[in-house]
Every structure is written in structure tokens, then in C-alpha cells.
Symmetry: C2
Subunit: 215 residues, 2 copies
């Protein structure tokens, strides 16, 4: 006879999710999106995805120039992004030096889906990131969402309508406010039990933090 | 009978040194100074040390605020520096949130020593960093150099005179110009065979680059 399982939550069940902050137009955010599940799974964690807007945190709040427009750092970043992609076998079909024409479309789509199709919203985020970064799809026009492979639960026509509506814009504003209130400024930032780690290069430190419970 | 050795240089002998750019007042630069020898030794490389001035690269050339004065990023950096120090068992005797009063003294001392006492200049850099970061010694006044443990080859009185002289200032200006010409903007930056890696978090990537010859 199998022993009865206790109803008390296991330690795994009460663990906080990892909070993954990223901007859809950040190549480092995209790179992190490809590794965050594996990192979380290894430590029996889930992941909560939070779109942010570098245009707000970096430019408005921090008063900085866009990264690629910054002397010295811009050219370095271009090189570093390509170097990272080569090392990890990531095909970048997008010229990431070209400014995105409507950077909020993807973030609004995600926020709307997180409310109305929560089980499909991360799959949507991954589909958007893949279309944008691997295929180089121009997602500036809402109609362009019709051309990408969406999760089954989400219809292209409702998504196209949603990203143009006030609700999606409002949900994104709330996400952005909450990321700023949490002190988040860069993409990716991963928050583990209240501890923030900024940058794609922090994955091994986060892994160590999760394994040890911090130091 | 032993075979005669070829006079052709071995691969090791012709390998470029690692170029290590750092600002004495950068905690991440200090952290890197503690690991750069081990990294280089593992790959049979030497290290050439290059002081740089964040006050020039970040503020004048890039047009950015000092890191700790930047909203969101400032508080994050304070926390990240302390977290790194704890993880690596580094005692920081300095309140690194307080602005250094004369940040160029150490860099000038190094540049002067690199010319006049080249065999002792890296030992001097390490002595200065240790005094500044571990003991929290205020090195704003040239006379304060008298209180620190200097390499045997370098007399305190000649160093104190040197850092106030035009030659040390000129040598530092040349180093700063050359770091900017090389595209260096942050501390630490490590250049491996022409490839620049910025940030203390890049050590494992540099290690991989050195082991594989790049990708």
C-alpha cells in the first residue's frame, strides 16, 4: 500500500518563483529567455515573466542614452552580442543595431495575454521573441502579429485588436511602474527571493545563489 | 646527448600579454586585480596593466553620470559589490559609496613606476589597491603614500615627489588617451588578442576564449 501523502506543502511548493524582467527589444533579454527555464527547473522553481521598457528605465528614469548610441559602449555591445550569440549557437536574424520602430507592441501583447490567457502567455512571449530575434520579423504594425506562430489558445485577430486597445497599454504601464518600484533598470534582471541580479553574465552567480540559499 | 633546442620562439613565447585595464577607484577593477594573474598563468600568458580613468571615459567621452549617482543602477551596484566581496571572501575596508577625493594619485604613481621601476610596478599597483580597498587608506594627499607598504625597489620619498610632478601626469594622460583609442570605457576590461571583455562577470568567458582560441 502506498503511504498517504502529507497535505502540508513541500519545501518546493512554497518556493517563490524567479522573477524574470526583460525588454523584448533587448538582445540580452532574449538570450536570458533561452536559459531561464533550465536554470529555474534545476532548482525546482517556476518563473514569472515581467516585461519592462528600457526606454523608460534607462532614458527617462536614469537619464542615460540608449546603449547603442553611447560612445565606446555602443560598439562594444554590438560586438559582445554577436560574440555571445556565436558561443551559444544562437542565430540572430535581426540587425539589432537598427532601432525598433514600435517597441511596445510585444510587451503589450504579453501583458494582455498574461491576464486573459495566463497559461499561454509565456509561450506567447517566446513566440514573439523568436519571430523578432530569429526571423527578424518587423512587429511594428499590430497586423504583423498575424504572421507569427501563436500558441493555440490565442487567436491572431483578438491579439491584434488587444495590442491596440487601452487595456493592454494600461497593463503594461502597471508592469513598468512595478518594475521601477522594484529597482529594476536593466534587461535581463532576475530576482531570486528578493535579491536582484542584472545581466546575462550573472547566470552562474544566480545558479550558485539558488544552490546555496545565498551568502 | 641532449638535442639542441631550436632558436625559433615557442608558441608560448610569442603569445600576446593580456591587457588589463582598470581604474584604481573601481571596486570591480580591484576585484579583477585579485584574479587576473591566476587567469593569465593558467594559459601561460603575462599581464600588462593599464590604469584608466572612469572620470574621463564615462563622464567626458560617454556623457554619463558616475555609476553610484545613477538612479536605480547606483543602489544596485552598491549591493552587487558587497555581494561579490562576500562571495569571494574579500574584506572591503573602504566605504566605496564615498567619492574619492583625489582619484588620480594612484594611477599617476603606477604610470611613473611603470617607466622608472618596471619590474616593481605591478607590485606597486597591488600595494596601492590593497591600501585603498582593504585598509581604506585615504590616498588623496601624496604624503599618504609614505604610510603604505611599498615594493623594496621604490622609495616613498621619490614616489611622493613623482606623483606631484608633470612627468607622472603626462604618462597617465598618454595611458588614458591610448585606452580610449582602444575603445576601453569600463573597469575592468581585459583585452585578449585584440578581443575586449568588459566586466568582472566576464572571467569565465575570457577563460573559455583563452582555452579555445576564440569563437
Amino acid at each position: 500500500m502506498m503511504p498517504l501523502k502529507s497535505k502540508a506543502p513541500t519545501p518546493e511548493a512554497v518556493r517563490e518563483p524567479l522573477h524574470f524582467y526583460f525588454d523584448f527589444i533587448s538582445p540580452y533579454g532574449y538570450f536570458a529567455s533561452l536559459r531561464i527555464d533550465e536554470l529555474a527547473n534545476r532548482h525546482a522553481r517556476t518563473v514569472q515573466w515581467h516585461p519592462m521598457l528600457l526606454g523608460v528605465s534607462v532614458m527617462k528614469v536614469m537619464g542615460l542614452k540608449p546603449l547603442l548610441d553611447t560612445p565606446l559602449k555602443g560598439p562594444y555591445t554590438l560586438r559582445d552580442v554577436q560574440r555571445y550569440a556565436r558561443l551559444h549557437g544562437i542565430h540572430l536574424g535581426r540587425d539589432f543595431a537598427a532601432p525598433p520602430t514600435h517597441p511596445r507592441t510585444m510587451a503589450r501583447a504579453f501583458c494582455w495575454a498574461a491576464k486573459h490567457h495566463p497559461m499561454a502567455s509565456i509561450a506567447l512571449a517566446k513566440a514573439l521573441l523568436h519571430a523578432y530575434w530569429v526571423f527578424g520579423t518587423d512587429l511594428s504594425a499590430p497586423e504583423s502579429l498575424d504572421g507569427i506562430a501563436l500558441p493555440a489558445a490565442i487567436r491572431a485577430d483578438e491579439l491584434i485588436e488587444a495590442v491596440q486597445g487601452e487595456e493592454a497599454a494600461r497593463l503594461l504601464r502597471a508592469e513598468v511602474r512595478s518594475s521601477l518600484a522594484a529597482g529594476i533598470f536593466g534587461s535581463p534582471t532576475i530576482v531570486v527571493d528578493g535579491e536582484a541580479f542584472w545581466g546575462i553574465d550573472k547566470f552562474s552567480e544566480i545558479d550558485h545563489w539558488l544552490a546555496t540559499g545565498g551568502w
